[in-house]
């Protein structure tokens, strides 16, 4: 593995970590709401969350690029406010990854919160716990296996993405080049040995993460993938 590969690996892990953290912050309240809301049009939001599961990543990447580039609505606005457009930046990568990996975090959390049900929270309310208090003291601990699944899947899926990061990140070595794209570059350049190292690394890591999820699910029997 050369230095460029190591840099790509570092960026990949950093991207996956930041994306997963961001998704936990955004995804937890969203999943909570989806699990508890009785709003009749809730299914529309559920469909939106699930979109990245079926869309080719390039479609998502293309529209993000359009929106975030200097001529796009968001990028243009940011430039007008004195900032930099997000296209071809690490922040842009994070934004794209967050959208792309959203269902992998929200769905396990929503399932876990649904499995907790109303009863434990009602009990907590009769034991003087305020809504926020009972969320953290009852709902979160009871949904812990769901959180673990969400973290592992969000992390692993972000590592594995290709289309979105290529479109929005632009494959800039040392800045937005991640492992999946580095592998592609190596194959393009007939450097199969390098491609092997990175590919095998990803393969082993993904397998380990999934073994962890399934192993713990067997113990807790809460969340199914």
């Amino acid at each position: 593995m050369n230095d460029a590969d190591l840099t790509a690996l570092g960026i990949t892990l950093q991207l996956a970590a930041i994306t997963t953290l961001t998704l936990l912050v955004i995804g937890t309240p969203l999943a909570w709401w989806l699990a508890r809301s009785k709003w009749r049009f809730k299914f529309v939001v559920e469909a939106l969350v699930a979109m990245p599961l079926v869309l080719p990543p390039t479609v998502l990447g293309f529209y993000l690029l359009m929106a975030l580039g200097p001529n796009g609505p968001i990028g243009g606005w940011m430039q007008a406010m004195g900032g930099q457009p997000l296209a071809f930046t690490f922040t842009g990568l994070v934004l794209g990854s967050v959208i792309y990996s959203l269902p992998f975090v929200v769905q396990p959390l929503q399932d876990a919160f649904s499995a907790v049900g109303r009863q434990p929270l009602e009990v907590a309310s009769t034991l003087r716990a305020s809504p926020l208090d009972r969320f953290f003291s009852v709902a979160v601990p009871l949904a812990a296996p769901g959180f673990l699944t969400a973290i592992v899947l969000g992390f692993a899926h972000t590592i594995g993405e290709f289309g979105v990061v290529l479109m929005i990140g632009g494959n800039i070595p040392g800045k937005t080049q991640v492992v999946s794209i580095a592998i592609y570059d190596h194959v393009e350049g007939m450097e199969y040995a390098n491609a092997h190292w990175l590919s095998a690394g990803l393969l082993v890591m993904s397998f380990c993460l999934l073994v962890l999820v399934y192993g713990l699910n067997r113990k807790f029997r809460v969340v199914k993938l």
């Binding site: 009863q119 434990p120 009769t126 003087r128 003291s137 009871l142 812990a144």
Partner: protein, 355 residues
Amino acid sequence: MNMQARFHIRQGGFNLHADLKIPARGVTALFGPSGCGKSSLLRAIAGLDRHTDGYFKFGAEIWQDQQQFLPPHKRPLGFVFQEASLFPHLNVRRNLEYGVKRTPTSARFISLEKAVSLLGIQNLMERSPGTLSGGEKQRVAIARALAVSPRLLLMDEPLAALDQARKQEILPYLETLHDELQIPILYVSHTLEEIARLADHLILFGTEGVIDSGPIEEMLTRLDLPLAHSADAATIFNAKVVGFDQTYHLTHLQFDGGELTVPGMSLQLHQPVRVRIAARDISLTLQRQSSTSIQNIFAASVAEMMAEGDSQVTVRLNVGGVPALARVTQKSAAELELAPGCSVFAQVKSAVLLG
């Protein structure tokens, strides 16, 4: 002190109007068939379900009216659900501490230790809920509800999910609560046996909503209500141990209508006891029988009579101010020429002590 509850609950298959004044002492039973809305009323009182136009006042404190609605966690109540619902991620001790920690020190009047000893769960404290039996779980759940020092305890069919043996295991603890704590209890049940053992006051529900409410002794014996007409109709009254017969191993109980003698000597002198006498265990005579095996004979007057089917009649008696029911055949009633106002003698064949 009283509680006032006014709710209109439209939900699922029923439409319940309740406008009740409930004494804020002793055990008040919400009794009626399944699905009549009594559990929903209890949830409304707890604030677990919010109904528009609902009204609930506890003593001088308004918990819900047009302007305000106190959420459940701000109401000084304890709630025992039908399923014990212990937090599976906490052991028994931490389940109990969950509510205690969230109760301001100034509002605590039942210590954790007191709650633990009242329910006899000292040996379960370090156990995980998953390892407890159904009866143990429910005892922990009741202790957990008590440990928040509630000023009102709500119990939603706490024994319904348990088998007969587990029920018998828990009932004595509930009787202890009734005797030892000054907390008013609202107790939902559809089992007459539990009500007979625990309740002081009864709110009777029918399929159409609340039928009537009043002291249990009256409610059980009123001929205009269905309870007096069931096959196991009975009279309940409170009595006190006043003496023993050492020779024949008997206990003398004093109640408002006179003195009742029961076999056995397991009680303490002056101990209060609740007595139940089934309507079919009382027979009537016009003269006091002298040569009879029956020990307990009371002078009474017939207050009211109502036919049960074609062959029986339920007679409501007044035994020195205590209402009592007797179930006799219509043939006997005719031969004795029973009618309201008649003086009779009530012969009690057996009485059940309810602890």
